[in-house]
Subunit: 190 residues, 2 copies
Amino acid sequence: MVVSGLRDTILRAAVDHVAEHGPDTLSLRRLATDAGVSHQAPYHHFADRQGVFRAIALDGFTRLGQSLHQAVSAPIDQQAGALLEAYVEFALANVGHFRVMFRRDLCDMENDPELRTFADAAFDTLVEHVRARLGEASSINDIRARAAAMWSLAHGLATLSIEGPLEEKIGPIANRRAFIRSVATQSGLV
Amino acid sequence: MVVSGLRDTILRAAVDHVAEHGPDTLSLRRLATDAGVSHQAPYHHFADRQGVFRAIALDGFTRLGQSLHQAVSAPIDQQAGALLEAYVEFALANVGHFRVMFRRDLCDMENDPELRTFADAAFDTLVEHVRARLGEASSINDIRARAAAMWSLAHGLATLSIEGPLEEKIGPIANRRAFIRSVATQSGLV
DNA sequence: AGTTTTTACTTGACACTGTCAGGCTGGGTT
DNA sequence: AACCCAGCCTGACAGTGTCAAGTAAAAACT
């Protein structure tokens, strides 16, 4: 796959760096010199350092939204498991994105309607699934709580897997997909 | 409460900053000048910038461990709910600590036996509870999966609450303790 | 076709950051 | 009296994000 321009080059390098070393140590100057351009070149494509994280998050929420959308193409009784699996696998396959998406100091959702729209679109799939699963008769509070529970389980499992402490505590995980499924089973959510 | 020395002053200010603005923008120089000392004074108490985060994490895991330990003083059938509640409430009451504790780029567990010991002590409570709950007869895999599920649910709920997207998506949460409990109920884990 | 505008950079400067090196000073130990 | 050392300070360095101003070529417009 050919890299089209400097913008893409910087973005990819940034994602790679975040996946390997986290966001804090990311230096746009270093990215620029690595790409063979002047230290100011990246700032023509991104307003500032935060603009890079914003772009990463935008891309991330788009891809996560697609993954989740694909998960609800399964029969209704298998959707919960598929959603959980899709969420965790997205996180593990896109660590660089995932680390940025939920850091409000890196990408400020509140004052960024576009970013919020992309994030909302991703999670609407989850909420819609819960609504369909519990049925129209169920209370709004049950739907809220159930959606929060599913999201929390997925997000927590993803975060703890990426950031390390899970395997350190629970022991090495041989078959990740099978493990995700047994976690899902142990919670009553699937 | 009287602040004993410069070390405590810096530590408190650092935690406050992280809680409000995140870890990335933390400047030891700024903390030093705010405390009325030279820019190098803090480095007498901490090896380097990371040393500050290490101290924060150490303190955090200690307190989290205490909270979780207190939660398992309840009758066995109420422990799961109490643990979940304690975990989330610790996170919300100690955002500055929580944000640091699970960032492997800020505090490197792998090469830091002491930090790892503190973290392990905290989570042993959780694993021990699951072992007691499921009984000796249950398989090691079930215990692992169940502990991971509980930890993930708690961690995810805490993270999403702190970082913001939960309430943005689910709507404002009036009574947080009640909400935590209904999330716990929706999952089959309590 | 000739003129203007825009794109995609470059160079230079500034304040700020973590960190290394080398001081100083006062209380405690030997 | 000599020494040590904890707890600070001053100074310097490279690296960082970002503002300001330039340049050269492509694109757009008249």
